[in-house]
Amino acid sequence: MKRSGLLFGLFGTLAFFSLALPGARSLWSVLRPPTALPPTPAPELLPEVPPELGPYRVPEERLVSYTLRPSTALTFREGAVVMPLESDALGLRRRRTEVPPDALCIVVLGDSVAFGFGLDEGGTLAEQLERELTGLAPTRPVACFTVALPSWNVDNAFRFLLDHLDEFRPELVLWLPVENDLEDGYGVTESGDRRAGEDPASDVPGLHVRPEWGFLAARSKELGAAAGEARLRAGPEVLVSGATPLSRRRFAHAAEVVGAAARRLERAGARLVVAAHQQSDFQRELRASLLEAGLVLDELALFEALTKTDSLGIDPHPSARTVGVMARFLTEEFVARGWIPGARAPEREGLAPELRARQAELPTHAEALAWSRASRARVAQALEARIVPSTLQGMLQVYGGIHLDDSLEPVFGAALPAGRELVVGLAPLDDVPDLYPLEVEVFAQEQRLGVLRLEAGRACVARFALAPRGGPFDLVLRAPDHVRVTRRGQSALAFGRLLELESVP
């Protein structure tokens, strides 16, 4: 009895410590006081943008979708996040300190992650990295610049950097790729807000390539309890898969842009370094695409995967603490590779072991390419043969061009698995009989398959023979005419409603 009591006590103690230790560590990481920030220089008086106006401006460069309104104090709102910001003369986040004349300049390039979405100035990767590196007493002062804006794509980011190379004169460019690097760029409204617009770099004019997350959210809400099961049939997210033609073209384009930039940076005396903030499927596929393009870049490992704890909570972007760990990972790599002259090695104890354990292990080139082959095959296998907006089936296979009420924009695109026959079911819009008959062009397997004649007042289903090529294919519907409709108080362009698409095996 005494013995069993002892065993029970021992077990209890073990259980207690196995819970209390990670609990205490987690509490400390969440509740510890923030690292002291360097003194902020006296604020320069910047003109304030009224809150009724958006933060963006149209730049002179067509391949850059937007910058912030330059040299202003403004309020940045997106989703659930509201951030007071100050911009510099180039329309980027303003640095808080002067750049010493002999500084080693590092550009942190990318979109919202590099921008520090939801973070104050002291929380951005550029500032945390600069603090870390400065603390290691390098022979030259280090200045890190944020060259990033939320939702910039690969064209936007690299074009902006190359246009302003003489201003930054970087020696290191740290690129943080993110999924929206493959999406179309945006435009700017007359009030400085973001809007869907035509991307001059797009290879499918008129198609707005962007995953239909809004559609999924809205339809899930309508489906209620059935949404969970329906979402299981939404298919794989094709744009970032590399498994379909448009996705492969977008990855190849990204590799082309990055390759050209890397060569120019090298000529300008700068090194381009890639750092994925986590090893998502997109990041792995991007790595393989760069390798396939013969591009071997320096790559640094950050997190293997981010959890919800690492995020802002109200938004999936990384928290200041998470970004701080990224800055530490980068600092260690920069110093280990000798890129920061004179800097002493950072203390390894500065980072908790469980955080260190979460640093990604980068694959070899052969492993990266093998992963990509397997992933593409897996995605091709997982593609839904039908796309039916009413049930959400296959909706993650849509590249863009559908409204929340199933009506279609003038150009619609989606991916389907290989098959013998393509079935396209469309319905006309109500109340616009003069729009019809409308001969909607159907493109698939990189060719025009024919037209679907959409008549007023009745749904239409057309069948097209597919070439026996095997492999997933892209479908594009292009309408020669459309009308303006108002849906949920918003103007939109539409030509008909999508009933279903199917690739019949």
Partner: protein, 499 residues
Amino acid sequence: MRLLARLALALLVALLTLVCSEGLHVQLTGESLVARLRPRGFATLPVREVGDAEKTLRAARSAGAFRADEDSAVGYTFKRELEVSWAGRRVRTDALGLCAEPPAAEGALRLVLAGGEQAFGSAEPRASSPGAVLADTFERLRAPDEAPIAVRTVAVPGWTLANTLRYLLDRLHELDPALVVLLVEPDGLADGWGVDQDGFLVPRHEPGSPAPLATFRPPGAFEARVDRPSDGRWAGPDPHWSFGLGLGHSGRARLAREVASLATLARRLERCGARLVLANLDGNHLPRILRAELAALGVDVPEITLAMQVTETSVRVPEESGWERAGALAEHLARLRFVLRAGAPPLNGQQRSPVGSRDTVGALAEGLHARAMARLVARIEPAAELGLAQAQGGLFSDGRLAPEALFLLPRGRELAGELEAVVESPGLYPLDFALLVEGEPLGTLTLAAPGARAAFTLDVARFQGPVELHLVAADWGLAEFLGRREPLAARLLFVESRP
């Protein structure tokens, strides 16, 4: 003391429970329980959609007169339901983003006068704008037993033909016209404008353009001098002609696109029991070219000429023509009234158009084409102001080139040219250019270093007509031009077609 000890014990138990709960939560979900409950650093807003009404309110806060339209092919309209300032005038706008007009009388036939700057009219007051003049004339000519004719102007300054056509197609139901008079302007096929963050017009890329980084428009600073007395150096067709006549690859594509849109508009109007008429104010040839192309598609669209005079500041009817008398304008207006009251003849029917037959129009277009071809000059040299009317886009007035540039040259055996590296930007050189002729890649050129020059020669003997040279830079830098920072790639020294 005992109470305090109990309290301390309770606190310790609570703390240990919190630590263990946190540990358990982390072990099970990988997430911190406390982080979930912690207040956030930034204020939060509910996620919501921004509707048209709110966009209208937000737009009112910026200074400019224009708003970006949802349809990129429309480009822009005036801001909605506001009094905006444009070119020193106050313009009251309606819910459609057009200049507001008085409501149509009960039972009135609706005539839409559509177009760009000419149709909008730069006159002050609005009573002398083309639409108002037309409305006034109709009212004067109206017999007591005839229904009134309400004229609605569907035009915004700077609109291209593509902008106007797409706007009409998008909003046909709201406009509900019985007749659309489309005033075709000479620069109707050029690239349109976009709107900046303050509601002002800025150059933008044309959706679907094969040269998205060039503006398909003659160089602004040169353009003003196109009409000066020719000393031979400016020889060449009006640049707008070369677009409209389809002399080059881009011009042909642009013309085909607008003709397709016109045919769509004509057919949709016919389905609604309405009719389309092309018109021009100053005798430009584009309507005739469009009619010839439409006729080839089996679509017969009549054309009229409105004999008004256009000056820099106003549009007015010449007094000597006798506004109410039977002059050219009255005749055309009478035709419009005939079309309005007689209903829409079938597009492919045998009914004769008010002006000219299909054959006549086709012959006229061919004649225009031949004349323009004969006027093409073989050499374009910006420094000597030579052949600039054939620069179709991407050429700045100091000879520098945008990342893409388009030049039209007469038929020849080979094309030759030379570029100079004048843009300074770290690591920009060596800088490659792709050289496309009539849309086909035929060669490359490399500028080795700042200040360097590079020449090219391309064999173009196999092309049967005039050729369009398209220069595409692989990279570029921002450089000062008239106080702005523009993307620039090089300077064009010359390009010529050699027989």
